[in-house]
């Protein structure tokens, strides 16, 4: 009965604000916003957008970044998992990489920038000793016009995300027996995995890959910190237009937001074509009967790239941590000349209120999202059919439609409703972004659950609810807490919704961090990056600890 409410509730709570917000942006994109003097539908904003200098280049950079980031991070994850799952090295890397999911994108980007910039830590390590540089070389590494640094910054952050998503899905597959069969037929580790396990695995993480494409093609903070500047990516430019005090720019920004939607959509379409090509390629090799037994170099490459990606983020964060206690730290010194706790002493007393808001909003939004997701999934089981494609796309709208495309309209909704900035509104706004991630993390594992367990439970005389509570939910504990941790991390990382819906009155650790980061002070960024990281990391610790604790006596439930 209760489950019946799940899907409609989810649709009203999620799709309602998004659709309203989307139309609130679409109308200005078509020239209609009476409050700013636009009373007629016209294509003027679209023409304005087409005449905007360099718009083509910004668009292409966004498109390329979306596809390249997804392709590279997926390739690294696939290569590593195929080559190493079930080994000791795998477990070690897993412990290294998983916590990185909780690192905020902006913090990772700052860390990366400080590692690889000409005045960064890597250059300092070899200067002036090996290079003879007493001043940093004038090299364009960060902000390069091709966006390579930005793609690198996105890749190192998306790898942990895809890796964790894959792990959750991996638990639903019969990895060890399949491997044994492939090996007994003479296939190398990687080939055996790609031929036998990758297709069902990929099916489960496919939406996560779409989310990566959508995110990478519309990201703002990473693109600002690492991306090209002349011109910046589309998303960065349309946020600039949105913030322009010249209010007629709102029309241009809205049109740009629609272009962003199209860019993200095209990136995903191209990806779908690439998927087909990849599958065809794989099948050809499989049919040809190649065994690829000598895959040691490829395996080492997988391990190497995975370690490099994790290593550079960890080193970057270490460098930021050092900055948070640094006094003067000029080039080419490898260590700060003096150490002071000033930044910490200044920050800690001021962080209490934003911290409380972050925790309350994050926890409540995550719990609601988990609850709704489970209701929807139960309903799905009861009716025996998944929501139509339309319903699924509605649910994933927040991941695929760039935030700016509907947040302005959403802001109007809250103001028009007479609501002041309050906690429930903020929780609802976060829920819009938390819910899809929770659903994405949980649904595939849920659907892949072996229904014969339900049959066994019924056979033993358990009611449906008891079977759910005593069998299914416990068996899915790992997937559920992981989904919760992902949801909480997403909530902690929300910037635009918090700023717009919280109207600056409800601040979180992230909004404070971005405001201070605009001052470019690495010391303060170091402190906040640390705080921003600790919260979600605590969530993931819980996500790891709970299943370990619950299943300590169940050998088959370990990965």
């Amino acid at each position: 009965m209760l489950a019946r409410l799940g899907p409609p509730l989810a649709i009203v709570l999620l799709a309602g604000p998004i659709l309203f917000g989307f139309f609130g942006t679409l109308l200005p994109a078509l020239g209609y916003l009476p409050a700013l003097g636009g009373t007629e539908i016209s294509l003027a904003p679209a023409r304005m957008l087409a005449n905007e200098p360099g718009i083509m280049r910004s668009t292409m950079t966004s498109l390329a970044a979306g596809l390249a980031s997804a392709a590279i991070s997926l390739a690294v994850v696939a290569l590593f998992i195929a080559g190493w799952s079930g080994t000791r090295s795998f477990a070690r890397i897993q412990h290294l990489v998983s916590p990185l999911l909780s690192v905020p994108h902006a913090a990772a980007a700052f860390g990366l920038a400080f590692m690889i910039a000409p005045s960064g830590l890597l250059a300092r390590l070899v200067s002036p000793g090996l290079t003879g540089w007493t001043r940093p070389p004038d090299l364009l590494i960060v902000h390069d016009p091709m966006g390579l640094t930005m793609i690198a910054g996105l890749v190192v952050k998306e790898i942990p995300f895809l890796f964790l998503m894959t792990l959750a899905a991996l638990a639903q597959l019969r990895v060890a027996p399949t491997r044994a069969i492939a090996a007994s037929l003479g296939y190398g580790r990687i080939a055996g995995f790609i031929f036998c396990l990758w297709p069902p695995l990929y099916r489960q993480i496919r939406l996560a890959v779409f989310a990566v494409i959508a995110f990478a093609s519309s990201v703002v903070d990473v693109a600002t910190i690492l991306g090209p500047l002349t011109p910046p990516t589309l998303a960065v430019r349309l946020v600039e237009w949105m913030n322009d005090p010249e209010l007629s720019m709102r029309f241009l920004a809205s049109a740009g937001a629609m272009l962003q939607v199209a860019v993200t959509g095209i990136a995903i379409l191209i990806w779908i074509v690439l998927e087909r090509l990849g599958a065809a390629w794989r099948n050809r090799f499989a049919r040809a009967g190649h065994r690829f037994r000598r895959d040691a170099p490829a395996r080492m490459l997988g391990l190497g790239l995975m370690s490099l990606a994790a290593g550079i983020v960890i080193a970057g964060l270490g460098a930021l941590a050092a900055w948070s206690v640094a006094g003067l730290w000029p080039f080419p010194d490898v260590m700060p000349r003096s150490v002071s706790l000033k930044s910490w002493a200044f920050t800690l007393p001021r962080i209490v209120a934003p911290l409380a808001t972050t925790l309350i909003v994050g926890l409540i939004a995550t719990l609601i999202a988990l609850f709704l997701t489970i209701l929807c999934l139960i309903r799905e089981d009861e009716t025996g059919r998944r929501g139509g494609r339309g319903a699924v796309w509605l649910l994933y709208l927040p991941l695929i439609v760039p935030q700016v495309a509907f947040l302005f309209g959403l802001q109007l909704l809250f103001l028009g409703g007479g609501a002041k900035a309050n906690l429930p509104a903020l929780i609802l706004a976060h829920l819009i972004f938390v819910m899809p991630y929770v659903f994405l993390s949980l649904s595939d594992a849920w659907r892949a659950f072996d229904r014969r367990f339900d049959a066994v439970a019924s056979g033993l005389g358990k009611t449906r609810w008891r079977a759910l509570l005593r069998v299914r939910l416990p068996m899915l504990t790992r997937a559920i807490v992981t989904a919760g941790a992902v949801g909480f991390a997403v909530s902690v990382g929300q910037y635009l919704p918090t700023v717009l819906i919280g109207a600056g009155r409800l601040t979180t650790v992230t909004t404070e961090a971005v405001a201070l980061a605009s001052g470019g002070n690495r010391r303060v960024i170091g402190v906040y990056a640390f705080l921003q990281m600790v919260l979600p990391m605590a969530g993931f610790l819980v996500a790891t600890a709970i299943p370990a604790l619950v299943f300590r006596r169940f050998r088959a439930m370990r990965i």
Binding site: S119, D138, L328, S343, R505
Partner: protein, 406 residues
């Protein structure tokens, strides 16, 4: 049902009552009484810790003295606060808005004034502390980028374009003394100078500084842009930039995001000359361990841009009385002197020391402006800001020429 209607009517009456009672700064006691218990949401750029700390101090004082709670809404761009008021106007929220006080000047002020988003009638010159403001020697407190202020915003601090360099690396004898010699210096030291990418406020100000120096007739800049002559007027500026960019940091293919980023670049030894709008910026940074203590300031003898930054109240602010009291407190000799202390912030005062009581005057003379700060008489002449429309057009033209890569 009837009860609901009665309640609605009562509520309506209440709303009317409050809107009829717009605070009038000429009746200051009433304003103070009105303000007690209010919460003022002060929308101010939050990118600098020492400024945030200063606002926190002011908040504590205002709470103690006037019973007003001051909450700083930390922005990364002032335009966001303007955008918020616009969104509220679009939603018909003409009362009880979420922004009570904005730290503002220039194009943001011009935009808000043009669209009637500010509290009227003009109130700033009726504040009790207005009597100390240096209207005679600081004309920019009444004219914000050529736009008449008309009391719609209250002056808060003075800004002047000042350059910084590290004595340990750069010989003071080689320093440029105007835009032209800056170009020669950059050619002699390739890759060692940059400016924040317009439309960053400081970056755009650099463009204006060069334009004001190179333009044939400065008076045209005081008028709104005339499209017919725009190309001719700005030709010297863009010819200058065409020559400067290849000699700049990263050959002009990348730019720092803002002036704090330039400060970091000076510390990282990526560039040798940076600039800011606050003469005490370097002293303050030395104090905080962000820059080495060998950093010093210089300006151009023929003058650099100067302007004033202000506090404005939106037309739909929820706590107008509280905002007035806050603006008045921030204008007080006590608050202004503290603000000018480089250990606190280092932002120059808008007040005239000569108009102050002797005790208050001593607050200013007692300040140690820091080793890297030029004395007020060393800052050189002040150049007038062009009309805000110039900034907008220059930014657009800059983006068209340099902002899209080729």
């Amino acid at each position: 049902m009837i009860r609901t209607i009665v309640a609605a009517l009562a509520l309506g009456a209440l709303v009317n009552a409050t809107s009829a009672g717009e605070p009038d700064p000429r009746d200051w006691d009433a304003v103070l009484a009105d303000a007690r218990g209010e919460t003022v949401y002060f929308n101010a750029w939050g990118g600098s810790q020492n400024i945030n700390a200063y606002i926190e101090w002011a908040g504590a004082e205002i709470e103690r003295r006037f019973g007003i709670e001051l909450v700083q809404v930390k922005l990364d761009d002032t335009a966001n606060a303007v955008a918020k008021v616009v969104a509220e106007k679009a939603a018909g929220k003409d009362e009880g808005g979420s922004v009570d006080l904005i730290w503002i000047n220039g194009e943001n002020f011009a935009a808000m004034k043009r669209q009637d988003l500010l509290m009227t009638p003009g109130w700033a010159e009726d504040l009790p502390n207005w009597q100390y403001v240096d209207v005679e020697n600081k004309p920019t407190v009444r004219t914000d980028f050529t736009v008449p202020v008309e009391g719609l915003e209250s002056p808060w601090g003075m800004a002047k374009l000042v350059f910084f360099y590290d004595e340990a690396r750069t010989d003071p004898a080689d320093l440029p003394s105007d835009a032209q010699s800056l170009l020669e210096w950059a050619r002699a030291n390739p890759g060692r100078f940059s400016y924040p990418q317009p439309p960053d406020f400081i970056g755009s100000s650099f463009l204006k500084q060069v334009l004001v120096e190179l333009v044939e007739d400065r008076s045209v800049l005081q008028e709104p842009v005339d499209e017919a002559t725009f190309d001719a007027v700005t030709a010297p500026l863009f010819a200058y930039l065409d020559e400067l960019h290849p000699a700049m940091w990263r050959s002009g293919r990348a730019y720092p995001q803002n002036y704090p980023a330039m400060k970091q670049m000076l510390a990282d030894n990526e560039v040798d000359i940076i600039f800011a709008f606050n003469p005490a910026e370097a002293s303050s940074a030395i104090e905080n361990g962000e820059l080495p203590d060998t950093v010093r300031s210089f300006t151009f003898p023929a003058g650099t841009l100067a302007n004033t930054h202000f506090l404005a109240i939106p037309y739909n602010a929820a706590s107008k009385a509280g905002a007035l009291v806050t603006a008045n407190f921030l204008l007080s000799p006590e608050a202004q002197a503290r603000k000018q202390d480089p250990k606190v912030w280092g932002d120059p005062t808008v007040l005239a020391p000569g108009k102050l009581e002797p005790a208050d005057r001593r607050r200013f003379t007692a300040l140690d402006l820091g080793v890297a700060t030029l004395a007020p008489d060393e800052l050189g002449p002040a150049l007038d800001e062009p009309h805000p429309s110039w900034m907008e057009r220059l930014e657009g033209e800059w983006k068209r020429r340099y902002g899209v890569g080729n």
